[in-house]
C-alpha cells in the first residue's frame, strides 16, 4: 500500500468522524472509494502528492456531484473537471469530497444549503460562516489540510475568520473560473482554505495561471511562492478607518489592535488611510451580484439537466415556473428577483449602470491608497465572531452586512486573505490583508510573518 493510499484512508476516516458537522455532501462510502482510487492513480512526482483537498460543491469534479447546495442540481454530475480541480489532480492531490455551501454560494452562514446547515466546529450552536462553510469547517476540524472554496463577496475569507483558518481570495483573473458554477461572473474567484498560510498558498500556486478556456483569466504564469521573511522592514501597511466603525465588536477591535502592534514590531510602518466609498460597497454588491446571478441561473430550467418538475403541465412556461419555483430555495429566488428587476428596461440606468459607476469609485479608492506608497491594507475580516445559527435568517440585510469588510475586494478585483489573529470568548476571529492586483506574493510575505508572531488561539 502506497503512502498516498494510506493517507487517503486516514483522510476518509477523519471526514467520517466529523459527520455531525454536515460539512461534506458526498456519501462516506462513495468518498472513501473515490479517495483510494485517486490515491492509486496519483502522480508521485506531483508537488501536492497525496494531499487531500476538499472541494466546494459548486466546483465541477468528475468524482462527485456538483449540487451547488441546491435541490435543482441534486444529482447533477459534471462531465468534466474544473480547471482548478484538473490542476490539483495533475499535482497529485486527492479530491476529498464535495463540501456543503449556501445554495449557489448565496449566503454568509451555510444555512441556505438545501441539504441542511453546516455546524461550527467549535460551537455547535453557531454557523461556520459562508457561503463556503463546509470547506472552512472541514479544514478547521483538521480533516483535510486544505480545501477549495469560492468567493463572490467574501465567501472564503468570512468563514475562514469564523472558523479560525486561513482563507485566500486571489486577484480576479489569477485562477481560472472554468468549471466554477457562475454566480456573479465579474466577482467570482476560486479561493483556498488552509490550516496555515503555507498550505493555502501551495494549493493556490498549483491552481493559478493562464487558462485558454477562461477569457477573464490573465495570461500569467502560476503564482510563485515567496519565502518566509525575517521581518517586515520596509512594508507600509494602511489601516482604513472605515473598517473600524464605532459599533465594531470590542473583542474584534482588541484582536486587530494587537495584530497591528505586532505588525509594527515586525518592522512595518502602519498608517491610517481612508477608503471613502466603503459605505456603498454592500448596496453596490447587492445590485451587481444578483443582476449577474439572475442571468447565470437562467440555465437551470429543467430542460437539459438537473431536476425537472413532474406532472401534467400546460406548456413550457409552466415547466419553467414549477421547476425553478420548487428547485430554488428562498434566498436564491430573492436574488433572482432583485437581479431581474435591476436589469429591467427602465430600471437599468438607475440601478445596474449606477452600481457599476460606484464600483469604479470603490476600485479607485484602493488605487489612490496603493499609489501613495501603501503596500497592503490591514482590517478585521468580519465585524463579529461566528454568530448563532438562525440569528440572521429572518433579516437578510443583517446577514448581508456580515460581509461588509470582505465584499470590497471582490468589487475591486483585489487579492485578499484572512488569517486567525485571536479568540473572542473562545471563538476565532480573522484579520484581513488586502493588496494591489497580482501582488499576492507581498501579501503572503506579510501573512507568513504575522502568522508566526500572532497568538492566534489566545483571547484578545
Amino acid at each position: 500500500m502506497s503512502d498516498a493510499v494510506a493517507g487517503a484512508r486516514s483522510a476518509a476516516d477523519r471526514i467520517s468522524k466529523l459527520r455531525r458537522l454536515n460539512a461534506v455532501l458526498t456519501k462516506q462510502t462513495e468518498l472513501r472509494k473515490a479517495l483510494v482510487a485517486q490515491a492509486d492513480a496519483a502522480r508521485p512526482t506531483g508537488v501536492l502528492y497525496g494531499m487531500p483537498v476538499a472541494v466546494k460543491a459548486n466546483i465541477c469534479t468528475l468524482e462527485f456531484q456538483t449540487s451547488c447546495g441546491s435541490r435543482i442540481l441534486e444529482d447533477y454530475r459534471s462531465p468534466y473537471d474544473a480547471t482548478a480541480v484538473a490542476r490539483l489532480k495533475e499535482a497529485g492531490a486527492l479530491i476529498a469530497g464535495a463540501t456543503n455551501c449556501d445554495e449557489f454560494a448565496m449566503g454568509s452562514s451555510t444555512e441556505h444549503s438545501a441539504f441542511g446547515r453546516t455546524i461550527h466546529p467549535i460551537d455547535k450552536t453557531r454557523v461556520p460562516g459562508g457561503s463556503s462553510g463546509g470547506s472552512a469547517a472541514l479544514v478547521a476540524a483538521g480533516a483535510v489540510p486544505a480545501a477549495l472554496g469560492s468567493e463572490t463577496g467574501g465567501s472564503v475569507r468570512q468563514p475562514a475568520s469564523f472558523c479560525g483558518v486561513v482563507g485566500i481570495k486571489p486577484t480576479y483573473g489569477r485562477v481560472s473560473r472554468y468549471g466554477l458554477v457562475a454566480f456573479g461572473s465579474s466577482l467570482d474567484q476560486i479561493g483556498v482554505f488552509g490550516r496555515s498560510v503555507h498550505d493555502a498558498a501551495r494549493v493556490l500556486s498549483v491552481i493559478s495561471g493562464r487558462d485558454p478556456r477562461d477569457n477573464t483569466c490573465e495570461d500569467r504564469d502560476p503564482l510563485r511562492l515567496p519565502t518566509v521573511p525575517e521581518n517586515l522592514d520596509g512594508f507600509v501597511i494602511g489601516v482604513p478607518k472605515e473598517y473600524f466603525p464605532p459599533d465594531l465588536d470590542p473583542g474584534v477591535r482588541r484582536a486587530c489592535d494587537r495584530a497591528i502592534r505586532i505588525l509594527r514590531e515586525l518592522g512595518a510602518a502602519v498608517r491610517e488611510v481612508s477608503l471613502p466609498h466603503t459605505p456603498y460597497a454592500v448596496p453596490t454588491y447587492y445590485i451587481i451580484a444578483p443582476a449577474e446571478a439572475s442571468s447565470n441561473l437562467a440555465r437551470f430550467d429543467g430542460v437539459r439537466y438537473g431536476v425537472r418538475a413532474e406532472g401534467p403541465l400546460p406548456d413550457v412556461r409552466a415547466l419553467y415556473r414549477e421547476t425553478r419555483g420548487a428547485g430554488f430555495g428562498a434566498e436564491v429566488r430573492r436574488r433572482i428577483l432583485i437581479g431581474t428587476y435591476v436589469l429591467s428596461s427602465g430600471y437599468y440606468d438607475a440601478y445596474y449602470r449606477k452600481a457599476q459607476q460606484v464600483r469604479a469609485l470603490i476600485a479607485q479608492d484602493f488605487r489612490n491608497v496603493f499609489d501613495r506608497g501603501v503596500d497592503l491594507l490591514f482590517t478585521p475580516t468580519t465585524p463579529t465572531p461566528a454568530f448563532k445559527a438562525g440569528a440572521k435568517l429572518a433579516d437578510p440585510v443583517q446577514m448581508y452586512l456580515s460581509d461588509i469588510f470582505v465584499c470590497t475586494a471582490n468589487l475591486a478585483g483585489l487579492p485578499a486573505l484572512s488569517l486567525p489573529i485571536g479568540r473572542v470568548k473562545g471563538l476565532p476571529i480573522g484579520g484581513q490583508l488586502m493588496g494591489p492586483h497580482f501582488l499576492e506574493d507581498e501579501m503572503l510575505e506579510a501573512a507568513y510573518a504575522l502568522e508566526r508572531a500572532v497568538p492566534a488561539t489566545e483571547e484578545a
Binding site: 459534471s78 457562475a182 430550467d301 436589469l343
Partner: protein, 479 residues
C-alpha cells in the same frame, strides 16, 4: 409586384442574420457543420453546462470584421459582448451572447438596383456579432418538442439597414446584392436552405413620402428569396386595407406562412420580451488590434460593384453583361482568365455568358472547359479555322471529355475548308439540289443568296468557310 398601390408609400427596413463561414462555433471548438445527426456537435460550452465559459473564435471575428469593411462600415476597435436574456428550450444558457450598446460596426452602405428607382444606396445602421440558438423540432415526435443543439453557438452577424426600401422588390434586390457581396468576400455561403441567411423585415406604409413613418410591424420567418416579395407584399396590402378601413396599425410581430401564402399575427405573449441586456461579464470588451483591421482591409477582394464598373471600363462591355459576368466571383475570375489567355473581351463575354454558363447550370455550377482552352477555341473561330456552329460542338465535346480544341475539331472533321476544289464541288451539289431557287435567283431574286450559303454549309456539313462561299456562288450563278 412592383410599386405600392397608388396613394401609399411602403417603407421597409431589414435585419439579416448571416452565418459566418467558420469551421468551428463562436465560443467553443465544436464543429459548425450543417446536417450532422442531432446533438453530436456539442460540448459543455454550447450545451450551457454549469461552469462552462465562452472563448471567442478568432476566425469568426475576422470574418465579421471583413463583412463590416465590405459594407463600408465604421469599425469600432472596441466593442462589447452583451447578454440577451430570454427563456426558450433551444437557448441552453437562458441568454444569447450578442452585442447591444457597443456593436462591432455602424454606419455602412450597400448600393443596389431598385426595380423602380434605379441605383439606390441602402444605409447599414449596424453590424454585430452573435451566437445562434439551437433548433426546436416540433414535428419529430408527437406532442413533444425535441431540441437539437448542433446549431447552438454557431457564429452569426446581424446586419441592420435603415428604413430605406420602398417596395418588396427593393427589399429583394438589396438582399440579393448583400448575398452576392458576402459570398464574394467569402464571409458566408448565404445558403438559405441551411438557414445561413435569415431575414426579418420591419414594414410600414404612409400616405406620402414626406410623412412621418407609419406604425411598423415586424415580419419574421421569411426563409427564401422568392418569399421575400410575397411576404412583404402581403403585409403591405394588409396594412393598407386596415388603414383604408379606418383601423390603426398595431405594432406586432407577423409570421409568414409560405404554405398558406399568408401573414398572421404571432401570439403577442410570446414576444413581449424585456431582454435585460447587460455586458457579458465572461467576455472582456473586444479590442481589435489595428494590424488585424489593416490585414482584413488589405485582403478584401475587389467587391462586386467595383468589379462590375471595372469590366465596363476595361473591357468595353455593356453594364448588363458586366453584371452577369460579375455575379459570382468564380464566373468573373473565369471570364478574366479567358481574356488574359488572349481572347478578345467581347467574344469572350458572349462565350462565357452563352455556352459556358449554360453548361455550368446543368453541371452543378462547374465551369468545365478551362479558361485557356476556351480562349484557344475562340482563337480558332477568329482565325477562320472553325465556324461558330462547329466551335459550339467542339465546346460541348471538351466540356464532356476534355481535350485540345484543334485535335477535337480535326477528329470530328469540323475544320473549315478553304480549298477551292472542295468548295466548288459543294456549291455545285447545293445548286443541283435546288433548281427552282436557282431559276428564281437568275430571275432577279438575289436575296436568295443567303439561302444558298446555308445549303452549301449543309452540304459541307459545316466544314466550308462561310466567308468564301458567296463569291463562288455568285460566280456560278451568274454563268
Amino acid at each position: 409586384m412592383t410599386a405600392s398601390p397608388s396613394g401609399w408609400e411602403t417603407v421597409i427596413g431589414l435585419e439579416t442574420h448571416v452565418q459566418l463561414s467558420t469551421r468551428t462555433k463562436m465560443f467553443c471548438g465544436c464543429s459548425a457543420a450543417f446536417g450532422d445527426p442531432p446533438n453530436t456537435n456539442v460540448c459543455p460550452v454550447c450545451l450551457g453546462l454549469p461552469g462552462a465559459l465562452p472563448v471567442p473564435n478568432e476566425q469568426a471575428l475576422k470574418l465579421a470584421l471583413r463583412g463590416a469593411l465590405a459594407l463600408q462600415c465604421t469599425v469600432h476597435a472596441r466593442s462589447v459582448f452583451a447578454r440577451k436574456n430570454y427563456f426558450y428550450p433551444d437557448l441552453p444558457k437562458g441568454y444569447q451572447i450578442s452585442q447591444f450598446e457597443e456593436p462591432l460596426a455602424t454606419g455602412g452602405t450597400l448600393g443596389f438596383f431598385s426595380p423602380e428607382r434605379g441605383f439606390v444606396m441602402a444605409s447599414i445602421v449596424r453590424l454585430h456579432v452573435e451566437e445562434d440558438a439551437g433548433k426546436s423540432l416540433h414535428d419529430r415526435y408527437p406532442r413533444t418538442t425535441a431540441v437539437d443543439l448542433n446549431r447552438s453557438g454557431v457564429p452569426l452577424v446581424e446586419i441592420v439597414t435603415g428604413p430605406d426600401f420602398r417596395s418588396p422588390g427593393e427589399a429583394r434586390a438589396y438582399l440579393l446584392e448583400l448575398k452576392h457581396l458576402l459570398e464574394y468576400a467569402r464571409i458566408s455561403d448565404c445558403d438559405l436552405e441551411k438557414g445561413s441567411l435569415r431575414v426579418d423585415a420591419n414594414v410600414s406604409v404612409r400616405r406620402t413620402a414626406g410623412d412621418p413613418l407609419g406604425t411598423k410591424t415586424e415580419v419574421k420567418n421569411i426563409n427564401s428569396f422568392a418569399f421575400v416579395e410575397k411576404a412583404l407584399g402581403l403585409e403591405r396590402d394588409r396594412q393598407i386595407a386596415e388603414l383604408e378601413g379606418g383601423r390603426p396599425i398595431v405594432q406586432a410581430t407577423m409570421l409568414y406562412d409560405s404554405k398558406a401564402n399568408a401573414v398572421r399575427h404571432q401570439r403577442t405573449k410570446e414576444h413581449s420580451h424585456d431582454y435585460r441586456y447587460f455586458p457579458d461579464p465572461d467576455l472582456p470588451p473586444l479590442v481589435l488590434p489595428a494590424e488585424w483591421i489593416d490585414e482584413q482591409r488589405a485582403t478584401l477582394p475587389e467587391l462586386p460593384a467595383a468589379k462590375r464598373e471595372r469590366f465596363v471600363a476595361q473591357y468595353g462591355l455593356p453594364r448588363q453583361d458586366a453584371a452577369v459576368l460579375t455575379h459570382t466571383r468564380a464566373v468573373a475570375d473565369y471570364y478574366e482568365g479567358v481574356v488574359h489567355a488572349g481572347a478578345d473581351p467581347k467574344p469572350a463575354a458572349n462565350w462565357v455568358m452563352g455556352e459556358a454558363l449554360a453548361d455550368a447550370k446543368d453541371h452543378h455550377d462547374t465551369l468545365r472547359v478551362p479558361a485557356a482552352t476556351l480562349a484557344e477555341l475562340i482563337a480558332l473561330v477568329k482565325g477562320g479555322t472553325l465556324s461558330h456552329q462547329a466551335a459550339k460542338k467542339v465546346f460541348g465535346e471538351i466540356a464532356a471529355k476534355g481535350g485540345d480544341p484543334r485535335v477535337i475539331a480535326e477528329a470530328l472533321g469540323l475544320i473549315q475548308v478553304a480549298d477551292a476544289g472542295a468548295l466548288s464541288a459543294w456549291v455545285d451539289q447545293a445548286l443541283a439540289a435546288s433548281p427552282a431557287e436557282v431559276s428564281r435567283y437568275r430571275a432577279g431574286e438575289t436575296k436568295l443568296l443567303a439561302f444558298f450559303v446555308g445549303q452549301v454549309m449543309k452540304a459541307s456539313r459545316g466544314k466550308a468557310d462561310p466567308k468564301l462561299i458567296p463569291a463562288v456562288l455568285q460566280e456560278k450563278l451568274s454563268r
